[in-house]
């Protein structure tokens, strides 16, 4: 016998189900209950940097758009700072910048879009710079554990080429699944594929 390790086990995940909107985005789902809907305003009015809009669709393995997805986004501000005590520069973040967003896909089309500011590069492990990116967390009916991925920007060619996370992806052609296409000034398109030839790279972090 040995001494027992007395760690607790993480509570196991369960699917968010088809009615996730009731709990996490009731206003977006069309019913008024809370005064403040959380996650609607990522950057706030004072944030520096380029104002951008990101739109996309999540596709299932049959190629059908998923119309009941909820996505949360997390990002640094334009200076690459996270509004969180673990970021040594957190005090410099603009007042009202939350860095966090929550969006649901359209019930009819599956399209989703978020408005924010383009994040700056963030220092990664061993002081290697990571290209500007958003962290995404995707939940829906049929997704048993929330899916984690990143969205990079198509107009950051040099930074993306040096990014330590993108370079971890062994099959180089799959790196493109994490890079949003710039469709117009300030507008990006980022589609997510759960399966198939264009399956998005998801992380275990």
């Amino acid at each position: 016998m040995v001494q027992p390790l007395d760690y607790l086990k993480e509570t196991p995940s369960q699917t968010a189900g088809p009615y996730v909107h009731i709990g996490l985005a009731p206003g977006a789902a069309g019913f008024e209950i809370f005064e403040t809907e959380l996650g609607r305003d990522i950057a706030g009015p004072n944030a520096a940097g380029e104002r951008i809009e990101i739109e996309g669709t999540v596709f299932d393995g049959t190629g059908a758009p998923m119309k009941d997805v909820l996505i949360e986004t997390w990002q640094a501000n334009a200076a690459g700072i996270h509004p969180h005590p673990a970021d040594p520069r957190a005090a410099e973040v603009e007042d009202g910048f939350r860095g966090w967003g929550r969006v649901i896909s359209d019930f009819d089309t599956g399209r989703w879009s978020v408005a924010t500011v383009k994040p700056g590069a963030v220092k990664g492990r061993s002081n290697r710079m990571m290209a500007p990116h958003l962290s995404l967390w995707i939940v829906a009916r049929g997704i048993n554990v929330g899916l984690q991925t990143r969205m990079y920007f198509g107009d950051e060619t040099e930074a993306n080429a040096a990014d330590p996370v993108l370079n971890l992806i062994e099959q180089a052609h799959r790196r493109a699944t994490l890079i949003a296409e710039r469709t117009a000034p300030g507008r990006y398109r980022f589609d997510i594929h759960l399966q198939g030839d264009r399956e998005t790279v998801f992380f275990d972090i």
């Binding site: 995940s13 009731i22 963030v122």
Partner: protein, 242 residues
């Protein structure tokens, strides 16, 4: 300043349900087929959104009152309470806990729910609360009903409350479901049984807690939630290098 304790324990993927679970049919086309890319944590993952009292309203945690339109919701009145802890058994304070559920008849207030049980005019079915300094949270609500769903021809969801929790880092983010002690539908549910380990399923079943019940008013169930623990880095490379 480096914060070497900010990394989180690795997630035990054998404890969680697999992405692909044949008996939960919707997961078949919604599960990535390629392996997840293992990533060491950076500042992008160990940070996450923070919340405060200004984000929520005074009735948000009371589902009996937060959507009442001149009456009380129908159903068995219950308190759901517990603590949010991490895997080191440390409390997770000031974190946002959000819940949603069907009404006592098993019907959600959602335009996509067409089950024949009626909507309750006094019940919305969602609530939220911040944990206190000891990680405690509580809600008051009515016990949700079981309801049928389209998977096999005759599948029923056990009574359950959906629970969403943040923690302090974005990779602690968790959504789960709380079940009720004694419900015979729990182990018949293909969503519950996506979880391979019986002990993990047990950890989602809230016991009746008579000590927290309010006599002549409502029963209580206790549901503790465990998020990923933080690692004390002993001899490892620090998150941000030197």
């Amino acid at each position: 300043m480096n914060r070497p304790t900010d990394e989180f324990f690795q997630r035990d993927r054998t404890w969680h349900p697999p992405a692909y679970a044949r008996d939960y049919k919707t997961s078949v086309a919604r599960s990535p087929s390629l392996p997840l890319l293992s990533l060491q944590q950076s500042l992008s993952e160990v940070t996450g959104p923070t919340f405060g009292p200004r984000d929520i309203g005074p009735l948000d945690h009371d589902l009996i009152r937060n959507y009442a339109h001149g009456g009380e919701p129908v159903g068995e009145r219950i308190i759901v309470h517990g603590r949010v802890l991490d895997e080191n058994a440390r409390p997770v304070p000031n974190t946002l806990v959000e819940v949603w559920q069907a009404n006592a008849g098993g019907r959600y207030r959602h335009k996509k729910d067409t089950y024949l049980a009626p909507i309750d005019p006094n019940f919305g079915g969602c609530g939220r609360a911040l944990t206190d300094a000891e990680g405690r949270y509580f809600f008051r609500t009515v016990k949700p009903g079981a309801y049928p769903w389209r998977n096999w021809v005759n599948n029923w969801r056990p009574a359950h409350i959906h629970v969403s929790v943040f923690g302090s880092g974005f990779i602690q983010r968790l959504i789960t479901q709380m079940y009720f002690e004694g419900d015979p539908l729990i182990h018949r549910c293909p969503i519950v049984t996506t979880i391979p380990d019986a002990r993990a399923i047990d950890s989602l079943i809230a016991p009746l807690d008579m000590n927290a019940a309010v006599p002549l008013d409502c029963l209580a169930y206790k549901f503790d939630i465990v998020l990923r623990g933080r690692r004390s880095t002993l001899f490892e490379n620090r998150l941000e290098g030197n």
